[in-house]
């Protein structure tokens, strides 16, 4: 059994195999693997006894249920108005340069994916970014670079 198969088996056991549990199962896969492969979606469909089109339909609706390959760490920088006013463009530029990719892309070593996101709920402390599930408010260019370097160091 592949890693993904085992992961899905565990998640289905934990949450139950009813349709209502599709989201927590897909979220569980993304938490471990950062994105949903075709193979994973087929497996989930089989385990819940629903059509794979239903699984893909649900997955493709949600921004955080990525169906494109993603890096080990997913960075999402808020681009909505107050963070825009507080300088999210400079942060994005600095990270693009540091990681040598554009927003929407993944580094060649698969360590980072850089994305933008809509309002993250920290507008009084913008600019702000999520790295995986962790939040980093009140960013400056230096702070953002430091955080990303830390992740790079820890995911060797």
């Amino acid at each position: 059994m592949s890693n993904t198969d085992a992961l899905i088996k565990n998640l289905v056991e934990k949450h139950g195999n009813s349709r209502n549990n599709l989201m927590p199962i897909l979220q569980g896969v993304v938490r471990e693997e950062r994105s949903l492969t075709e193979e994973a979606m087929l497996k989930v469909a089989e385990a819940l006894d629903i059509s794979s089109a239903e699984v893909y339909g649900t997955a493709s609706f949600y921004t955080f249920l990525d169906t494109m390959p993603r890096g080990k760490n997913v960075i999402r920088i808020c681009k909505t108005i107050t963070c825009h006013m507080k300088g999210k463009d400079e942060i994005i530029e600095a990270l693009e340069k540091e990681l040598n990719i554009n927003v929407g892309e993944t580094t060649s070593d698969k360590k980072f994916t850089l994305l933008s996101a809509n309002c993250l709920g920290w507008c009084h402390k913008g600019p702000v970014m999520l790295v995986n599930d962790d939040i980093y408010p009140e960013l400056t260019v230096d702070k953002a670079l430091e955080i990303v370097q830390e992740y790079a160091h820890n995911s060797k």
Binding site: N20, T58, T80, M85, A117, N118, C119, G121, H124, L130
Partner: protein
């Protein structure tokens, strides 16, 4: 018509107050009362939903209680995706027990056994702590022989899932596409069963009304807007943050307190709310008789381009539209393209009037609140800052 009198600016401390209110004791005292009496108190308090739409909370509980279908559900809407809103996160972080108690009292009142918090995926970092506290709380309910328990379901980054029927679809493992209404959640909500869905802040107020009594709550606010409300203040202000204020103040007193001295306009109610220019500050009342708000107050000073503001909002709606109905899916895109074309001079300024008609049409024909409310920011910004959109 009676003209509404604006209230003075007043800070209030009900939501985050922790000294005197032990949430679990509020539960204990109220479990000795009849469910109908609790519902009557909530109705009497005049509390209206704090998630944006402002439906009377007590009536929502009563309608759901009157339904015969089983099981019933209590859902806490913690999707908080409206740009400029961040108060629900703070409430769940600082006083989660008050939210839990509100849910349990609702469950007890309407006869539900299951409560679910729908937490936006962007707030996953709260999960660990919340689950730990819920474990303790559920045990406390068990000790009291109350047949009710609360769990959490997470969202995955879709603003539309804050809309109640889209939220139910999402909890059922589907695409977050809003349903037709009626039927309303009180008859067919989660799993098509009778459901009370309330905003995080609304639920805390129900706890506090059960603690303080409806009269104390009614002392605050106005006839149409009882009580206080938590505001998320951001943008060009030296004191951005979260403030609980009495409802019914004028926007000018608000700006006096929070503005930086150079305030040009305030977006009241987030991207889907209204933009109020300086000349209307005095006459605008913050409350259900004036401009209602889920709490988002974004302040812009004179250095800001209102074209950029509108452009950001339209980009937001274009991305977050679920795409289910044509007026919204195509309308959002055309509004965005439209103002870009006017800005570049490819369209005459009068094209803005056609776009305003389109926005108004969306208000009539879109299936849910997202598409319906795009006209709020669009028309209010275009009407008041036309030159900034054109030049």
């Amino acid at each position: 018509m009676e003209t509404a009198e604006a209230k003075n600016f007043k800070k209030v401390d009900i939501i985050f107050e922790c000294q005197d209110c032990k949430p679990i004791e509020v539960l204990d005292t109220n479990l000795e009362r009849k469910p109908d009496d609790i519902i009557l108190d909530i109705i009497d308090s005049g509390l209206k939903g704090r998630g944006g739409a402002g439906f009377p909370t007590g009536l929502k509980w009563k309608f759901t209680k009157n339904e015969t279908a089983e099981p019933k559900y209590v859902i806490c809407n913690a999707d908080e995706g409206e740009p400029g809103t961040f108060k629900d996160r703070e409430i769940l972080d600082r006083v989660p027990e008050k939210v839990f108690v509100g849910m349990a009292l609702c469950g007890y009142s309407i006869g539900a056994k299951e409560g679910i918090i729908y937490l936006r995926g962007e707030y996953n970092f709260l999960l660990k702590d919340l689950n730990k506290k819920l474990e303790k709380f559920n045990k406390q309910l068990k000790d009291r022989n109350l047949d009710f328990s609360i769990s959490i379901k997470s969202g995955s980054g879709a603003y539309i899932c804050g809309e109640e029927s889209a939220l139910f679809e999402s909890m059922e493992g589907k695409r977050g596409e809003p349903r037709n209404k009626p039927p309303y959640p009180t008859t067919e909500g989660y799993n098509f069963k009778p459901t009370v869905i309330n905003n995080v802040e609304t639920l805390v107020y129900t706890t506090m009304i059960c603690n303080l009594g409806p009269d104390k709550f009614k002392e605050l606010g106005t006839k149409d807007s009882r009580g206080s409300k938590v505001f998320s203040v951001s943008g060009d202000t030296p004191i951005a943050g979260i403030y609980e204020l009495e409802l019914g103040m004028s926007l000018s007193t608000f700006v006096e307190e929070f503005g930086d001295g150079d305030t040009k306009s305030v977006q009241v109610g987030g991207a889907s709310g209204h933009c109020v220019p300086r000349k209307y500050f005095e006459d605008t009342i913050i409350g259900f008789e004036g401009i209602p708000t889920g709490g988002s107050m974004m302040i812009f000073n004179s250095t800001r381009s209102m074209y950029n503001v509108l452009h950001d909002y339209l980009e937001f709606f274009t991305e977050e539209s679920c795409g289910q109905c044509t007026p919204c899916r195509v309308g959002c895109q055309q509004l965005l393209k439209g103002i870009e074309a006017v800005k570049r001079g490819e369209r005459k300024p009068s094209y803005l009037d056609d776009l305003k008609k389109l926005a108004s049409n969306m208000n009539l024909s879109a299936k849910c609140g997202l598409g319906q409310s795009v006209a709020n920011p669009f028309n209010s910004i275009v009407d008041n800052f036309r030159e900034e959109i054109i030049y």
